[in-house]
Symmetry: C2
């Protein structure tokens, strides 16, 4: 009964307040962690790392590309001259249009734009009703629906690993899920050329994109994690090359935990992360000058007592701010991350995602990944946390809107209308605006404790359970042209019969 009332209230409110969370621009000047001269010093040190210490590149084709471009190659080690790196980065586009299934889902990656993704890459999923389990295709599809539901989540990530689908056909299931359940920009794992090419084919056919259009615009993206420190493995290097050749987007993300895969200092970790990101961007640009790639970092620290990854730390905030300065030095759009190391969606989990989320937001990140649902440092995605974190994501979206301060907003007439110690509930100024004046939250319950107890004393997670179940129950996928799903299924059946495409590793 109370839940149903809650649902009705939510539905009713949606028709009253018009919001546009789709094309966000961060209105705040980015905050800095370092003076400009120290950013120059970090940049110079990163170039020194690439030129003098080198980076290990496991893919022969990548080494060959580097060598042809002027790098020194010695065994698997590649040493990059500073001029090659800087010239390559200068070729990377400063603004990238990523086309969705419909124009309203197009997004632009550029400094100043603000794009959110929920948690990505989790092996496990959890919710209050079914508990923590290895991720399944059903989880992946449900979480994709939840992602599609919220306009403030702009890209589809690989939320959870569908471990019940064999690796050689998993890319079919994931691309099918993304294309049929959403018109947002889809993700493709860089797990070898065959899977990547087949994913491109499915996307082009389903969304009616010609080869020419596909070569001229970006329609999907991959995430490239370097193997910090200073290594680029086979599938990652291959992914950079494949995506650059296809003109599709690589989001470069060294994952550098201070004290583990990176130096124990913020400046040291950023020096490493910056070097690796520049090396990866260089590979993409020498493969195909002008290929769409973003800069990125995911730098936090470990708990030095246990070695466990920690998120939402002050050091992560500082690293995010510093990374933003380095991104702006290069002029490139960049990704950053929120996230939590907590084991359940409690006050710690909310705290960590908020701290790291604000850090990324204030750093001027273009794409903030893991901004909703990410628990256990990414080992698990929580259905409930995805819901509760949306109030943070949507708050950032609301902060992107201008705050009226014209004479009408200043409201001298209302101030004259209400007597001293009176109230504004019934004032004309209030009545004209009350339905649309304020943010309408996803999961925040502001009822007083008496009402809250009458409704069953539901905590945030219990309410979130009702909310995600409502969304899934009422989910309506975007309309697709007739025959598209059947054609896609026929393609998948044919490829599956041929054995699929084993991943490279």
């Amino acid at each position: 009964m109370s839940k149903r009332q809650g649902r009705k209230a939510r539905g009713a409110q949606e028709t009253q307040r018009k919001v546009d969370y789709r094309n966000l621009r961060n209105p705040f000047p980015p905050l800095n962690a370092f003076t400009e001269d120290r950013i120059d010093a970090i940049h110079a040190a990163s170039l020194d790392v690439l030129g003098r210490l080198g980076i290990k590149v496991l893919l022969p084709e990548a080494r060959s590309l580097f060598e042809t471009a002027g790098a020194r190659v010695d065994g698997e080690m590649v040493y990059l001259p500073a001029a090659l790196v800087e010239d390559s980065i200068a070729m990377a586009p400063k603004s990238i249009l990523l086309k969705g299934g419909v124009p309203e889902r197009d997004i632009t990656l550029t400094l100043g734009s603000l794009i959110f993704q929920p948690g990505a890459g989790c092996p496990h999923a959890t919710d209050l009703e079914r508990g923590r389990r290895a991720g399944t295709l059903n989880d992946y599809l449900e979480l994709t629906k939840l992602t599609h539901h919220f306009d403030a989540l702009h890209m589809l990530p690989p939320l959870v690993e569908p471990q019940d689908v064999p690796m050689n056909v998993r890319h079919y299931a994931m691309m099918r899920g993304q294309l049929t359940l959403s018109d947002k920009v889809p993700f493709v794992f860089s797990r070898g050329t065959p899977q990547v090419q087949e994913s491109f084919e499915m996307l082009k056919a389903f969304r009616g994109v010609t080869d020419t259009e596909f070569s001229q615009n970006a329609y999907c993206y991959t995430i490239i994690n370097t193997n910090s420190p200073r290594q680029l493995d086979v599938p990652m290097a291959q992914g950079i090359i494949d995506f650059a050749r296809a003109g599709q987007v690589s989001i470069i993300t060294p994952f550098t935990l201070m004290g583990a895969m990176a130096p124990v200092t913020v400046a040291g970790a950023l020096t490493l992360s910056h070097a690796e990101a520049m090396a990866a961007i260089t590979l993409g640009q020498i493969t195909n000058p002008g290929a769409p790639m973003t800069y990125g970092t995911f730098t936090s620290n470990v708990d030095m007592k246990s070695g466990a990854p920690a998120f939402g730390t002050p050091e992560q905030v500082k690293a995010s701010l510093g990374a933003g300065q380095l991104a702006r030095k290069l002029g490139l759009p960049w990704r950053c991350a929120a996230g939590s190391a907590a084991n359940i969606n409690d006050a710690q989990a909310a705290h960590e995602t908020e701290i790291s989320g604000w850090g990324a937001f204030l750093a001027g990140a273009t794409v903030i990944i893991h901004s909703a649902g990410w628990l256990e440092g990414g080992l698990t995605i929580s259905y409930e946390k995805l819901i509760t974190d949306m109030d943070m994501v949507q708050t950032f979206a609301e902060l992107c809107t201008a705050t009226d301060a014209d004479d009408d907003a200043i409201a001298l007439t209302a101030l004259a209308e209400v007597e001293p110690s009176g109230h504004f509930f019934g004032a004309t100024h209030t009545m004209e605006r009350y339905q649309t004046a304020f943010y309408d939250p996803v999961g925040m319950d502001w009822s007083n404790i008496g009402t809250w107890k009458e409704r069953g004393s539901e905590d945030a997670n219990t309410r979130a359970t009702a909310i995600w179940k409502d969304i899934l129950r009422d989910f309506v996928p975007p309309k697709h042209a007739p025959g598209k799903i059947a054609d896609l299924d026929a393609y998948i059946a044919e490829k599956t019969a041929l054995g699929g495409a084993p991943p490279e590793s």
Copy 2:
């Protein structure tokens, strides 16, 4: 067993990492909500409110002071000329030294300094073991101990109302608690001149402050809430006068919920709040030019579906940013607030305190009140939430520290020492720094899920319970000169025998 290990780990860590959370300066440029011309327009509208609409002042002495200074008084309404307001504000000090019981507890209120208080003024207290109850003196004393424990909480607030102590003697019990349990700056309720004067007497005697010293420096503070809209009641006006005459600090705080006691728009609510704050500061300055007073605001919105107060909303963040601009226009230190409307310390509660806390931090607030423990829009203070929120407060404190980026921090030697795809756990650079490199959290648990389950699957609130109980168990009050407590008790016994001091209202 696990809790004891946790305690030991906490204790051990404290000896390793030196932090100074006592004298914080906010390193970030404040963020703005409005253009400067709109701030000017709000300021002008506020002056128009005071001059044309007026403010109702219930205390005859205050009306008399206003009239003598040049205001027009008509019945209980006072109309303030703009010049009087602006001249008065120009007399208010831009930097206020508040002296604690020892020099290390002195704080300076000025634009750029950053001072935290936990939740204040709650009628109820709650914790997992004893449940939600009307506040008692025992709760007040325990919560004062918890406040004293954390260096990042710089002032003692009236955390909870000790409802088991009669109003005519409550100020004795509260001042005794503050003085004996802490050497931080104490709070005095403005509940009439007799209670205020007796509180001053207890403070001076206990801390050995002469009348001359007391007249020359500030040693305590009060909070002045206007009765928005546009009213100043008897105890509040009396408090402004009493504190101004004594040279003690008034923190001015219109509490303006958009849509209820204030217009439904951010700009309208700020216009009202700004007008009321300026009127209150004017009263203090005409009473005693140069009296130490801060500007302040506490502006959030109500849920227009229910009329319930809401906190941690985007509108609250915008109001905080705008209020900071107005404070900087006046050049005065100012207070802002964090807080939550949630009924328990769950993900919603953490979200709301973090959103409003970041809003206040980024707005450049001098004093952030309700930054830990405040639930139900201030109806209840939670022991557990006080603990879990401290990781937010201490994160802000950590962000006030500079981030090293000298050559040693950039760590090229460490980057050269570790092979590609190796790790930095054992690197010399790491070993030299690992014990002190990272923030040591109060309540965040970064153990992996296996270890976490072995330790009992404790959520943040369960861990927080163990933490606050540990702090209370191990609490050692500051040392006091011999006889001070006995003298104070004798004073209180004498005054109590005479009937105490009934509050004014």
